[in-house]
Symmetry: C2
Subunit: 240 residues, 2 copies
Amino acid sequence: MHDRASKYDGGTPVAVTVDLVIFTLGRHDLQVLLIERGKEPFEGEMALPGGFVRVGEGLDAAALRELEEETGVDGSVLHLEQLRTFGEPGRDPRNRTFTVAYLALGPDLPAPVAGTDARAARWVPVETALSPSVRLAFDHAEILGQGLDRARAKLEYTTVAAAFCREPFTLAELRHVYEVVWGIPLDPSNFRRKVLKAEGFVEATGESRPLEIGRPAALYRRGPAGLLFPPMPRAGDPGH
Amino acid sequence: MHDRASKYDGGTPVAVTVDLVIFTLGRHDLQVLLIERGKEPFEGEMALPGGFVRVGEGLDAAALRELEEETGVDGSVLHLEQLRTFGEPGRDPRNRTFTVAYLALGPDLPAPVAGTDARAARWVPVETALSPSVRLAFDHAEILGQGLDRARAKLEYTTVAAAFCREPFTLAELRHVYEVVWGIPLDPSNFRRKVLKAEGFVEATGESRPLEIGRPAALYRRGPAGLLFPPMPRAGDPGH
DNA sequence: TCAAAAGTGTTGGCCATACACCCATGC
DNA sequence: GCATGGGTGTATGGCCAACACTTTTGA
């Protein structure tokens, strides 16, 4: 990525790329897909997957293509939305580069494949990726942080949490999504009431799955609703 | 705008612009700043103000510069945020153009000045600008619609409504912002309770302003808080 | 000239709902 | 031990009524 460029305004080379913040759910943490760059600049450092927008290709299409190239997954099964655009003059040491960042959410995705200009691709806990011990190329730490903020906020008032679950799923699995992404425990009883009362969030399959221990859990699939009203309460509200 | 370009990828010319959705509050409606284009393409049609990102200039800086050029206003007094980026291949009939759309909010702004490549600039009610009778250049109708959605959403959970008010302001004026942007009436009693209980939304000046008729209204200025929690209820919630 | 009406801001109360916290039961 | 279901107290907010302060109207 970031290795092709073109003349802009008769002077500075300019290029437009898409970069992806792809989240999936690990066992106990949120994970993000990072690649190890195989080319300069930032060769050998970790970075978000991404690439150039091709001639005649739309932004969403470019993001979807990169997503499929990088994860081998049919993009239609998960959530993909534009995050924001970053274009500070110094963000790429060679050329003037604008990158349109995208946020993608999905259930446990297949083992990522290394792209053309990446040595390796792997899932990294978000906490690790954002810690000072990891240096991300370009301004990708900033982009990742904004992706995390967006994902956390969207859980509140939309039903995207279900995008992290492979169907069919239990309510405990759905609750687990909130608990991992937000980093706080939720009351199982209240969570159940809220999700079941919210029309179109989930649909019961009528079946249930026996667990290793405890009562079997009922199974659900995603409902048609995209917005969640009233929103899922995050915290801040002391009962008494 | 959209009249300079450069070579991209050895083939298609490419350019990056910023376009601004600037909202202000009319007496009974929300208004948006539109220009009449003085150059091809779309010469003579209405469009959002905007222009090219200059060499070495950041995106936010470009948006702020265009805002000041177009309204003559010090951008620091109002709200400016990135909306999203539009880059469909056909959106500009000549070149491949990416535009980073920004949303700006402000109180009754000065009479706009015509820019370099605009014949005229004027405030237009949003309802008019989005009606089928008005054709906006490029994909600016889509951008304007998304700006309106964003503004409406942000009133719920942030304190940006105060950005529409010139200080000092009364609570009725602040409530008027919500009523005009959302197009629904709000209960004055509940509104007062919410705003005054939300810490940092507004600060009392201790003074009051005599009105043409009726009891004088207490005056407030903006508080330090940016987020509003709990959010301002929009509707949807039937009391009983 | 004074009194009543009208209009707007301000304050308080009632009640339904949502949710935090807790406990009981089924598998 | 985990999923499911219910019960209670508190706070938020919709709805409504009363009051405060001002200008306008009218005898």
